[in-house]
């Protein structure tokens, strides 16, 4: 008897925990509210099934406890009941799958007006690159990476010249403008993840992966690495600052382009050579 009661308390406790939990998702700051909604829907449907199944089990434990003088029912199968349950489950599963697939379809189709951000990851840090006035990022290669070319941009690619380099682990984004995050890594797997934006994707060395979101809340957010990348994984943090258009433009104008950076290094080199000659 007490077994059934304890099980009942566990189920009630679970439901109460879910209702009164102080731990729940962080306030969303991007367009992926659909993900949250699908989670909520799955919670209702799935949680309902969980509670129903467990309550039925507890009912059976109470009602059909062993008695020497009683016999269980003998009924190997009930085709009709099994059919009903199968179809009901299938229906429920479809109801959950449909919104999931619809949102995934949005997730993999990036809007045309999204600004591209090249996120470059290494053990253990981040840096970012934005397209310049031409709106296009230059192509890159790991082998090109050097002090005067921190992103490995192909020097003969005309699109690369005006790329804006953000050699910091904090990137600024414009509020209410879709961002296409292009991820690449120079060593191992990483994952650029901001819990408030909900979205994530692995950065895989040797290839460029992507995802997109639209930040819709001005503020500062912490970037976490969400794919295990070695000893420093837990400390691999970065930041995002979502700003209004005006603030963002100011920030953008302060950043250095690839051309400027190359020029600075060339000057450094020339100065260095002059010094050496003297």
């Amino acid at each position: 008897m007490h077994a059934g009661i304890i099980f009942l308390l566990v189920i009630i406790g679970s439901v109460l925990f879910h209702i009164f939990t102080p731990w729940y998702w962080t306030d969303i700051a991007s367009n992926w509210k659909g993900m949250d909604d699908t989670i909520t829907l799955t919670f209702w449907v799935g949680g309902g099934v969980f509670v129903a199944v467990c309550l039925f089990m507890i009912y059976c434990v109470f009602k059909y406890q062993h008695k020497e003088d009683r016999r269980a029912e003998y009924k190997p199968e009930d085709k009709k009941l099994e059919k009903i349950l199968t179809w009901a489950t299938t229906l429920g599963v479809c109801a959950l799958l449909a919104p999931g697939l619809i949102i995934w379809n949005q997730y993999v189709n990036v809007p045309k007006n999204a600004i591209e951000v090249d996120v470059m990851a290494w053990q253990w840090g981040w840096q970012y690159r934005l397209p310049g006035a031409d709106g296009k990022l230059g192509t890159t290669q790991v082998r090109n990476i050097a002090d005067n070319n921190p992103f490995g941009i192909n020097p003969d690619d005309p699109f690369g010249k005006d790329d804006i380099m953000v050699e910091s682990d904090v990137i600024n984004l414009e509020n209410n403008r879709p961002v296409k995050i292009l991820l690449r890594s120079v060593d191992v797997l990483h994952n650029w993840y901001v819990p408030q934006f909900r979205a994530k994707m692995d950065a895989v060395p040797g290839t460029v992966t992507f995802y997109w979101f639209e930040p819709n809340k001005v503020g500062e957010y912490e970037v976490l690495c969400a794919e295990y990348c070695g000893v420093g994984h837990y400390a691999m943090r970065g930041g995002v600052e979502v700003q209004d258009k005006a603030d963002y433009e100011v920030w953008l104008s302060e950043q250095e382009t690839f051309e400027q950076l190359s020029a600075r290094y060339e000057k450094l080199n020339v100065d260095g050579n002059k010094l050496a000659k003297k």
Partner: protein
């Protein structure tokens, strides 16, 4: 097929009789069972201590050997989990704990628990012990290969454990061993540690293949007379399907292990793209890290079901016996097991939704993944419908089964979150995933293992385990484990990523410090509670009550051996002849509330038993 070799030439006396030996049957026709197709199995009985207990060919001894070795590794895994929880709940308390150590413990805990503990325990332990007994065979069909299988496993475990003592320590690459970081510096144990891990895995696969061939052929070709496929206990069905999965999934692991070994030792670039490390471009280039993930999860997802299906099967039998009722919808249960097994080969990339693979795969794998929920849900319904209108003994075994249902349904539902591709995006690589898979393939199968231990201990040792201790063991484990993993889902919602040695002052974590401490304390208690079982077993072996034959009044063949515990050859002079399925409980009109599988129809002619 006309050149089939005739292996039926040497019939023993028993097969020439048309009838089973029950003399004086009322109606010989309804008791007819076809004569034996295959002659008696040639068994080699060991003569010395070594042949009887160490290099033994008896599947039951091998099963116990597997069980004990797996439990040993399981205890190592448990201790590692304590150390991890110590760090997560109380950072800095254990002074020796560096990030390197933490990641090594995470990796070894995962690999040990999934492969060397659960897989070996279910298939090697329960499989070896129960298959021949349940299908009515004298032994596994290739006893010698079976023995080699265990010793190969033993060596694999030894190699794995050796990696704790090599320079650099064991690998800390995470149990998924994702390249490139697995074999690069910056990951602990990227030298000897990972090599030993890969060697150990390869040995495990080879050893397992030997065992798996035994389990499959014993079930397919060595059943006793009258034991049709649809009269096999669900335990056998579960282990059988899991073995098929293992035979087809482990090759992918073997291949990926070989390729990674070459990447490590010979500097090939199967999985290694161009890599810039410490300002220098390494000697690698052109490989594909995602290829490894595909290979790994082609093994890894069936692996989940390799653990789950035997648990499904065993728990079905336990519930049926202790609810004194036939398993509800037996045929549905069988087809669900087979269906889940088949589907499990088409869902692997749901572990890779955010891995950077072609995003269009997401649609396909989300759909197949959610389809698999349907047969799984049917199994759950059938378990609770078996309880319905039953005559349920609330003993320790049944408690474990009920605990299994609660944890499995909970973990299954969270699986629907993670399988549904876009819901997975915010939750993947967070603590939600940890909570999900521990609930569904850690705690739930563990509940079944414990239930099975309490259920079959009287058969293996001939003594009954202490009920009171068993109940304490159950309640502490169940309530403790539930309170570890249920709140943990909410850590995932907050967005706490997994495999974090320390969270520092991230705003996501500050609110969850208390929860982490609570989880850690619960983990210490649950881990310690497992030693109640160890104590119970030792106490029972010393002073326990002697078990009567068939103490649970079950129907399946393992309880109808000539001696308890069964000796080599299992069934004495004659193999049993089977006339019915193992679930004839509470048949109206029968004298007892159970009819053993060996009971001929003519002996229970006045009952309303259905033909199976």
């Amino acid at each position: 097929m006309s050149d089939e070799y005739d292996n039926n030439k040497s019939y023993q006396a028993q097969s020439s009789e048309v009838m089973d030996g029950s003399a004086g049957s009322i109606n010989p026709d309804i008791d007819y069972v076809r004569p034996a197709e295959v002659g008696e199995q040639d068994l080699y009985h060991g003569h010395s201590f070594i042949e009887k207990w160490i290099f033994c060919q008896d599947a039951k001894v091998i099963g116990v050997q597997y069980f004990l070795t797996a439990v040993f590794t399981g205890i190592v895994g448990l201790i590692l989990s304590w150390l991890m929880r110590l760090q997560l709940g109380f950072p800095g308390l254990a002074g020796f704990m560096t990030a390197e150590h933490y990641y090594q413990f995470v990796t070894m805990h995962g690999m040990i628990m999934v492969v060397y503990f659960l897989t070996a325990l279910f298939l090697g332990g329960f499989g070896n012990y129960l298959i021949p007994l349940m299908v009515g065979a004298r032994d596994m069909v290739f006893p010698y290969v079976n023995m080699l299988s265990f010793w190969m496993f033993f060596v694999a475990v030894a190699v794995l454990m050796a990696s704790f003592f090599v320079p650099g320590g064991p690998t800390g690459a995470g149990w998924t061993l994702y390249p490139p970081q697995t074999i690069l510096e910056g990951t602990p144990g990227s030298g000897m540690g990972i090599l030993l891990m890969l060697i150990s895995l390869s040995l495990f696969v080879i050893g397992f293949t030997m065992g798996g061939l035994n389990y499959m052929i014993t079930i397919l070709q060595a059943r006793t007379r009258g034991m049709t496929l649809m009269r096999m206990p669900l335990t056998v069905w579960g282990i059988f399907t899991a073995t098929v999965l293992a035979m087809l999934a482990f090759p992918a692991l073997l291949v990926s292990a070989i390729m990674m070994t070459l990447d490590k030792v010979l500097q090939t670039s199967f999985f290694m793209p161009t890599i810039l490390k410490a300002g220098e471009v390494l000697e690698y280039g052109g490989g594909s890290p995602i290829l490894f993930q595909h290979l790994f999860w082609f093994f890894g997802h069936p692996e989940v079901y390799i653990v789950a299906l035997p648990a499904f099967g065993i728990v079905s039998d336990l519930i049926s016996v202790h609810a004194r009722k036939n398993i509800f919808g037996y045929r549905m249960m069988v087809w669900a097991i087979v269906g889940i097994g088949g589907l499990s080969f088409f869902v692997w990339a749901h572990h890779m939704y955010v891995s950077g693979m072609n995003p269009w795969f997401g649609f396909f794998f989300a759909t197949t993944t959610l389809i698999i929920a349907v047969p799984t849900a049917m199994k759950v319904y059938n378990w609770i419908l078996t309880l319905w209108r039953g005559n349920i003994r609330i003993n320790t075994v049944m408690l474990w089964c009920l605990g299994f249902i609660v944890t499995f349904v909970n973990g299954g539902i969270t699986g629907i979150f993670l399988g549904n591709v876009s819901v997975d995006v915010p939750l993947s690589d967070t603590y939600f995933v940890i909570a999900h898979f521990h609930m569904v393939m850690g705690i739930a199968p563990l509940m079944v293992i414990m239930g099975a231990v309490y259920h079959w201990f009287p058969l293996v040792a001939g003594k009954m385990l202490h009920e009171g201790l068993g109940k304490w063991h159950f309640w502490i484990t169940f309530l403790g484990a539930y309170s570890i993993y249920f709140p943990m889902h909410y850590l995932g919602f907050i967005g706490v990523p997994r495999r974090y040695f320390e969270m520092y002052d991230s705003p996501y974590m500050t609110s969850a410090v208390g929860m982490n401490e609570f989880i850690s304390i619960a983990a210490f208690i649950v881990g310690a509670a497992q030693f109640i079982l160890v104590f119970n077993i030792i106490k029972t072996l010393k002073t326990g009550k002697k078990a009567e034959k068939n103490p649970w009044k079950a129907n399946s063949l393992e309880w109808y051996t000539s001696t308890v515990p069964p000796e080599h050859g299992n069934f004495g002079e004659r193999l049993p002849v089977v006339h019915r399925w193992p679930y004839d409980f509470s048949v109206p009109g029968a004298k007892d509330d159970f009819i053993p599988q060996t009971t001929a129809p003519s002996e229970v002619i006045h009952t309303e038993v259905e033909k199976t």
